[in-house]
């Protein structure tokens, strides 16, 4: 049946139709929908794990037991799962195992632009890279057979444009999930030195066998159209090349970026006068081709920064720019921002107002960094707020009185807990604020261990954050409602003054949750409004100044009442 699917849905369909038994993932743009679509199937087990390392290890366990398994994550998630990945390469698999990783060139929703192909090379595991939804389906499905035949986990690399572009998919017959036999095999699965040392040559031999496969497989394809121009490309770059050059260039399309073929490339190169390598991000294919002693044009023409488009290709081949009209008027930016009624706003306002140094983390609340709040001092990676604050306070002991970490509920579960253990164990009087909005927000509302529901929306064990923080060694744990500015101020002042580490749980559900009832929108009495602009300091998208007076957009306002608390003239009600 032909259907329009985003790449991530196609991956889900391919994994399902490939006989997937167990999937465990942590959400992360642009990978999230793979697991969300898998959760719609009832003939496999799906779950949100607390982080990518756990997810990858769950998939390992399921594979060991004999099931076909998968996990999905964004590129930076693979950093977290890198520890199991590198040794999974040695153990290999029982049931086929696929690790889906989605890169984000141009950083639509990420903190860096890393190229996950380096992981495939470093961990010595095969990687597949589809160029559209149909390939995403086929490659995901085929990945299981590849995994089992070569006894290796398989990385399936997506990028934003493939993950979030819809194209037509024709699905094939589904293979029902099968549980292979499980037999104890210490030499293969217990990776202590004596065993692991014998697995390393197996890994090297496997890479050579896979390289043989790369010479002639469904993943790497050649289109001979011209003996003048030859292009080696992969993923969405292939689409842009075809869009611009059509049948005017010969193309070697790489669908398996690791290991790369040798003879196929040499032969292709020998048939064209000029060879280009067109790949987004790092020169992975290019370095391989250059190492074969072949002259190419690559990164000197095609930047390692951001995404390409048909325009990139057209410009590189000297084609005229298409005519276009632009406005002379200055078009102001429209950066993303915290929603009207966002529960994070009250806490960030309090921190900014009191000039607190704030080590931030990854989530919607990273938007506390933007004007007018400008509340954050750093954002590095998942969990770095808590551990970073400890380091900050070690270096600047006076910081204990005026610095905090802010971290969301899901991010705290992901990797904030270990940082908090360190705060308690190694003893800085650090104050950690858990912004508990009862959901994983930025990635589009996924459940997590603190919400009380699982991926299917069924009731599940709920982590008690207060009890958890106490168990981790923090005696001072208090809960505050971020809609109550006075309470926020008291909590922050008192916990910063305390002579021991503390946690403030700033708790209120995300205003976008369907279960959250909105209050009637507030309005401004323009006779009472003195144009002091104090309410504007909140950076609420519902509040603006019109004709010198504050005005509230009633279609956006959810009646949270935070601005009302700021108004000294009782003009908001």
């Amino acid at each position: 049946m032909k259907k329009l699917m985003i790449g991530n849905q196609a991956v889900a369909a391919g994994l399902h139709d490939g006989g997937l038994g167990v999937v465990s993932s942590y959400p992360g743009t642009p990978s999230t929908e793979i697991t969300e679509f898998l959760a719609k199937y009832d003939d496999l087990h799906s779950e949100w794990a607390p982080n990518e390392k756990v997810a990858c290890e769950v998939a390992f366990g399921a594979s060991l037991a004999g099931a076909r398994s998968a996990c999905a994550m964004k590129h930076v998630g693979l950093n977290v799962a890198a520890d199991p990945l590198f040794t999974l390469s040695y153990t290999g698999v029982n049931g086929g195992m696929v690790i889906c990783v989605a890169d984000d060139p141009a950083m639509h929703s990420s903190q860096n632009e890393q190229d996950s192909r380096h992981y495939a090379i470093a961990a010595k595991v095969p990687m597949l890279e589809p160029a559209d939804s149909q390939e995403a389906y086929t490659f995901a499905k085929e990945a299981f057979a590849l995994s089992e035949k070569y006894d290796t986990p398989v990385l399936l690399r997506m990028c934003t444009r493939i993950a979030h572009s819809q194209s037509i998919v024709e699905t094939a017959e589904a293979i029902p999930p099968v549980l292979k036999n499980y037999e104890k095999n210490p030499a293969k699965y217990i990776m202590m030195p004596g065993n692991a040392i014998k697995r390393h040559p197996v890994v090297e031999a496997r890479t050579e066998a896979l390289r043989e496969l790369a010479e002639d497989c469904i993943f790497n394809t050649v289109e001979m159209n011209s003996d003048e121009i030859g292009i080696i490309t992969s993923g969405c770059s292939y689409l842009y090349v075809k869009e611009v050059l059509g049948d005017n260039a010969s193309i070697l399309k790489i669908g398996m970026p690791n290991p790369l073929p040798v003879n196929l490339i040499k032969e292709f190169a020998s048939k064209v006068k000029k060879l280009y390598i067109i790949e987004e991000l790092d020169p992975v294919i290019e370095n391989h081709v250059r190492a074969l002693g072949i002259e190419v044009i690559g990164k000197e023409l095609f930047s390692p920064l951001g995404e390409f488009s048909q325009q990139t290709i057209a410009a590189a081949f000297g084609m005229d720019k298409k005519e276009c009209v632009t406005a002379d008027a200055v078009i102001p930016n429209r950066p993303p921002m915290m929603c009207a009624g966002c529960p994070h706003r009250g806490m960030f306002y309090t921190l900014a107002k009191n000039k607190i140094t704030v080590l931030g983390d990854i989530g919607c609340y990273t938007l506390g960094a933007v004007p007018p709040l400008n509340a954050l001092d750093s954002t590095l990676c998942m969990g770095a707020s808590v551990s970073g604050l400890h380091g900050f306070n070690l270096a600047r002991p006076e910081g204990e009185k005026k610095s905090v970490a802010v971290i969301g509920d899901s991010t705290f579960m992901h990797s904030g807990m270990t940082g908090l253990v360190n705060v308690a164990y190694n003893g800085t009087n650090s104050t950690t604020i858990i912004l508990d909005n009862s959901i994983t927000g930025m990635t589009g509302h996924q459940q997590n261990p603190t919400t009380g529901y699982n991926i299917k929306g069924d009731p599940a064990a709920k982590v008690d954050l207060e009890a958890l923080c106490k168990a981790l060694g923090i005696n001072r744990v208090r809960v505050v409602d971020p809609y109550d500015l006075a309470a926020c101020k008291t909590a922050v002042t008192e916990e910063l003054a305390a002579e021991e580490p503390s946690v403030i749980i700033s708790r209120r559900p995300c205003v976008l949750l369907k279960s959250v009832k909105h209050e009637a929108p507030l309005t401004v009495d323009s006779d009472k409004c003195k144009s002091c602009k104090r309410c504007m300091g909140l950076g609420c998208p519902a509040i603006s100044m019109k004709d010198g007076k504050a005005r509230i957009d009633t279609t956006l306002c959810v009646g949270c009442g935070v601005c009302k608390q700021l108004c000294a003239f009782d003009a908001i009600g």
Partner: protein, 190 residues
């Protein structure tokens, strides 16, 4: 047959994903090769969002670049101006006259270019402006701005009215179908 390029632009939260889902579904049912490129994640939080829809006999790139769009459907005035450079010389912009201030305007760091559509029109750009918010409210929900605009833009496609209605029935959640059909009709006949 050449590839046709459509862009749906607006502010995160205005329902561009539903609009592109509707258009994509319709075009597949009409037998075209179709690609739709969406934006998920951080930009959705009140930021500027753009969705590309391309269709034809065989479509390669899922995105649209400068001077390529046959049609831009904009849910907000400023966003129409932001993406105007993507429009082909003889292309057309269908735009909601609604003004949603971005944060730099709200905090007074920038000014909203109130007359930017007139400026673009003066430069020869083909612009159809309508108050889609008023029509959406008339249909029963301010959230139906997306479907009102699809109704207005529908006339730019060589696809009969009934086929659009059938696509709405297949794409929209059952309890919102009637309201969205009304919204589409109001846009179509505006």
């Amino acid at each position: 047959m050449k590839t046709t390029s459509v862009m749906i632009v607006g502010v995160g939260g205005q329902g561009s994903l539903l609009a592109s889902k509707l258009l994509g579904r319709l075009l597949v049912d009409e037998g075209y090769d179709v690609k739709v490129s969406e934006v998920h994640g951080m930009s959705q939080r009140g930021g500027s969002v753009v969705t590309y829809v391309r269709f034809g006999e065989k479509v390669y790139s899922p995105i649209v670049t400068d001077g390529e769009a046959d049609l831009i459907i904009s849910f907000e005035k400023l966003e129409a101006a932001r993406y105007a450079r993507y429009l082909k010389k003889d292309g057309r912009i269908v735009v909601n006259t609604q003004q949603i201030d971005p944060m730099p305007v709200i905090i007074g760091a920038a000014e909203y270019p109130e007359t930017v559509l007139e400026e673009l029109q003066a430069k020869g750009m083909n612009i159809e402006a309508l108050d889609a918010l008023a029509l959406a409210e008339q249909a029963g929900s301010s959230r139906a701005v997306n479907i009102v605009l699809m109704g207005r833009a529908a006339k730019q496609f060589d696809i009969p009215y009934d086929r659009w209605i059938a696509a709405i029935e297949k794409t929209v959640a059952p309890k919102f179908v009637e309201m969205n059909k009304k919204a589409f009709d109001l846009g179509y006949h505006s």
